[in-house]
Amino acid sequence: MILLLINYGLPAMGLRIPIFTAAVVGIGLRSSAYQSQIYRGAIQSVGGSQMKAAMSLGMSKLTAFTHIIAPQAIRIAIPPVTNESAIVLKDTSLAFTIGVVELVRQGDYFIATSNAPMTIYLTVAAIYFVLTTTINLALSFFEKKYQIPGIGIEGGHSDAY
């Protein structure tokens, strides 16, 4: 819906933008709304006592945020961000609705010339699978790398043994 609004609404208001830009802006807007909530939740879950302790040392609110709150909040946010990344990746197929040639549309073109829909769609699905898995693995790696010893359930990852 946002995509359609941006693609057809903005030109109506006199602002012409390429469809690719419209797709990026549209998907970006939706995801940023979701992600802002992820980070808001993560920041809140760090807890007020950390801020109090930081301020008791004479830190300004900004210093306390960058050195105390943010490093902890980002760690908490990694799992939901992993989720959101996979969703955004799949959302790109919606760009199809405003005419951007993305993975699915490209697949359609091949089907039109080769007449092998199953093979092509399965290939497209496989490409999506590889992309999402790569993103998940990468973020899971970061999650482990920056895990604070003793915090959280050890090995509680999606790829736990």
């Binding site: 109090k52 008791s56 040392l57 830190m59 050195h67 490093p71 915090i151």
Partner: protein
């Protein structure tokens, strides 16, 4: 108004909503003194400490650190650097090691050189007996160790005084003992301390003055021995002896 005291509190008032928790508290603290505030829960003992460094700004009254009036100063962060604070729930930064916790105030607030900060952090950790735990994270420490890191963190800032907000109330008796021993040795080294606690043994053996509060007022203050043996108010006696019954006289 300049004062010769290190810390002076005048007619401090504080409300939480409609409830008045501090109804005009005045006392002072001289360099090298240890004063202990006792009293039932909800009488505003912790609020006084929070008011002093303005984690909770007071509603009325004045607080002076040496001759600076700190209730209205704009440079509150400079004041906070000079006053250490030890929390009931330790307030350690979970993503940093014990050493990191002690160092961060030095490097980020005092802008100290990293190497220098590390040396000082190790010195302070050694002082509270935790040199071997420098690389442990807070969640890997026992409560008593965590609180001693909290004390080391406060000490490293080289404050003029340290405020202790019920530092041992979430610890078992054994861990309480190790924290109190550290605090006692600090008092003996001449650190100025204002302590809110229920540990009567500590109050009796370390405090220069005991302040008994109830209902937002100071009921009685004086030498610990006087309050224990010869209190002016019946209530003081009642309360202090209840605590002694509950917690014992302490191990000292």
């Amino acid at each position: 108004m300049p004062t010769s005291h290190l810390l002076k509190i005048e007619d401090l008032h504080h409300n939480f909503g409609k409830e008045e928790v501090l109804k005009g508290i005045s006392f002072s603290l001289d360099k090298g003194e240890t004063k202990v505030i006792v009293g039932p829960s909800g009488t505003g003992k912790s609020t006084i400490l929070n008011n002093i460094i303005r984690l909770v700004p007071p509603d009325r009254g004045k607080i002076y650190l040496e001759d600076v009036e700190i209730t209205s100063t704009k440079k509150i962060n400079e004041v906070r650097q000079q006053i250490g604070f030890v929390f009931q729930d330790f307030g350690l930064f979970n993503h940093l090691t014990a050493k990191g916790n002690v160092m961060i105030g030095l490097t980020k607030v005092k802008k100290m050189d990293k190497k220098e900060a590390e040396e000082l952090a190790m010195f302070e950790l050694d002082r509270v007996g935790l040199k071997n735990f420098a690389d442990s994270y807070p969640s890997q420490l026992s409560g008593g160790q965590a609180q001693r890191v909290g004390i080391a963190r406060a000490l490293a800032m080289q404050p003029k005084l340290i405020l202790f907000d019920e530092p041992t109330s979430s610890l078992d008796p054994e861990l309480t003992g190790e924290v109190l021993r550290v605090m006692k040795s600090l008092a003996e080294e001449g650190m100025t301390m204002l302590v809110v606690t229920h540990e009567m043994g500590f109050a009796r053996s370390v405090a220069d003055e005991l302040i008994f509060m109830e209902g937002g007022n100071i009921v009685e203050q004086g030498y610990p021995e006087k309050l224990f043996n010869n209190p002016e108010h019946k209530r003081t006696k009642e309360f202090l002896f209840q605590l002694v019954d509950l917690y014992g006289e302490g191990e000292e």
